[in-house]
């Protein structure tokens, strides 16, 4: 008796074996694919301008950021263009290497990898791009380069939105290295290098 009851329970359970097949239907839901939340660059129906990424309100600075009036952020010391790197930036090989990668990405299209104003865009476009290798730019304060990247000059737009201040200083330092590479005083060089200069190799 007990056995037959147990068996009938087993058969009942066995009859429900098709239920796991319902799991196959679960995969058809796509609710989680598009959740009601904003991701970068989404279109918004909530904000009047249609952007999920709202521009920061005027006169705000990022949390934990630096003093917006410091030399690091303005390239100026008491209103004058800084003639040295701000205290937060240390001149070392890493800074120059970083500056090189930034320069090649953001500046080289127009100014050229060498900085002579013969970038690929300058070659094609109807414009004259300033060379970095002239006496005016060799003697100007380093803060000048920071200032130009930050605020733009002439036809050059501001790159402040794309290049953070630390990177701008790295680029400014690298520009100095570029200038040195194209106008090095031979007294700085070794005798072996002088040979190479004379040989033009």
């Amino acid at each position: 008796m007990v056995q037959s009851v147990r068996r009938s329970i087993f058969t009942r359970i066995a009859r429900l074996a098709w239920l796991p097949l319902c799991l196959l239907l679960v995969a058809c839901h796509v609710d989680m694919y598009d959740q009601p939340k904003y991701k970068p660059n989404d279109v918004s129906s909530f904000f009047p301008d249609g952007r999920a990424m709202q521009p920061p309100p005027a006169n705000t600075v990022p949390l934990n950021s630096y003093n917006p009036n410091s030399p690091l952020m303005t390239g100026r010391i008491e209103g004058q263009l800084a003639d040295q790197l701000p205290p937060e930036i240390k001149l070392d090989a890493a800074l120059l290497a970083h500056g090189q990668s930034r320069y090649n990405a953001f500046c080289a299209p127009c100014h050229g990898l060498v900085g002579d104003g013969n970038g690929v865009i300058a070659y094609r476009g109807p414009m004259t791009v300033t060379s970095l290798h002239n006496d005016r730019l060799r003697t100007v304060q380093i803060g000048y380069f920071f200032d130009v990247i930050t605020n733009g000059i002439g036809k050059m737009y501001s790159y402040a939105a794309r290049i953070p201040p630390e990177d701008r200083w790295a680029i400014a330092a690298y520009v100095r290295a570029l200038q040195l590479s194209q106008n090095a005083d031979v007294t700085l060089l070794t005798e072996a290098e002088l040979q190479q200069v004379r040989a033009g190799r």
Binding site: Y33, Q35, V43, N104, F106, A108, P109, M127
Partner: protein, 220 residues
């Protein structure tokens, strides 16, 4: 002598229909799998219409503009960063200033209304993907985005199936490259030997103990 019930070719028809039935089932399954992997479903290689017919081939391959010039946050943030209209205008205020193709961009710059582009890579919302960590660990743009420098109009290069993600998370040494070459579109993975690539995996401190395939690495 009774009449024959079955015509002479009945055996052949029976065999053929048995065969046909099996082939039908196999064919339906194969067709579903094929559809799942095909561009009809995955959109791979299909360039959606965009407000401006922007050519990566022209800007990357011919003009030699670095990826980061426009996708500036790729090294710092989860998203590569879609260029603002100002980025386009930093060149196109000088170059091609009267092109009707760029009317949308100029209008956007004047009015401040963003240009609405059509998304090409749409990850499901339950997947967390971060560009910066991949770039920092030596996974190049072209590893996922293909040779986008050869595409006139941008199209998806990968269906973004999970198995594809896991392929690299299980064996990063098959895809890794030196950090300096991340933005090099022409880099060939085989330029380094397997041993050198394994060395890079160690150097960049990529976990090889299986942590990278934990569910919560991407689904969190």
């Amino acid at each position: 002598m009774s009449a024959q019930i079955f015509p002479r070719n009945a055996n052949a028809i029976f065999l053929a229909s048995l065969f046909g039935l099996v082939m039908l089932v196999v064919g339906i399954v194969a067709a579903m799998v094929g559809f799942y992997l095909s561009p009809w479903y995955t959109d791979v290689g299909i360039a959606p219409a965009q407000p401006v017919p922007f050519s990566h081939k022209h800007h990357v391959s011919e003009l030699k503009i670095d990826c980061r010039y426009c996708h500036a946050t790729v090294e710092k943030a989860a998203t590569a960063g879609f260029p603002a209209t100002e980025t386009c205008m930093s060149c196109h205020s000088q170059v091609w200033t009267t092109s009707p193709l760029l009317e949308v961009v100029r209008t956007s710059y004047q009015t401040g209304e963003p240009v609405v582009w059509n998304r090409i890579y749409d990850l499901p919302d339950f997947v967390y993907f971060n560009h910066s960590v991949h770039v920092a660990k030596g996974i190049g743009c072209s590893s996922c985005h293909g040779r986008i420098d050869q595409q006139q109009l941008a199209a998806k290069a990968q269906p973004l199936y999970m198995g594809w993600c896991l392929g690299c998370h299980r064996a990063p040494e098959d895809y890794i490259r030196p950090r300096e070459e991340v933005f090099n579109m022409e880099w060939d993975v085989n330029a380094l030997s397997l041993a050198q690539r394994q060395q890079l995996v160690i150097e960049y401190q990529i976990p090889t103990d299986g942590r990278l395939t934990n569910c919560f690495v991407c689904h969190r």
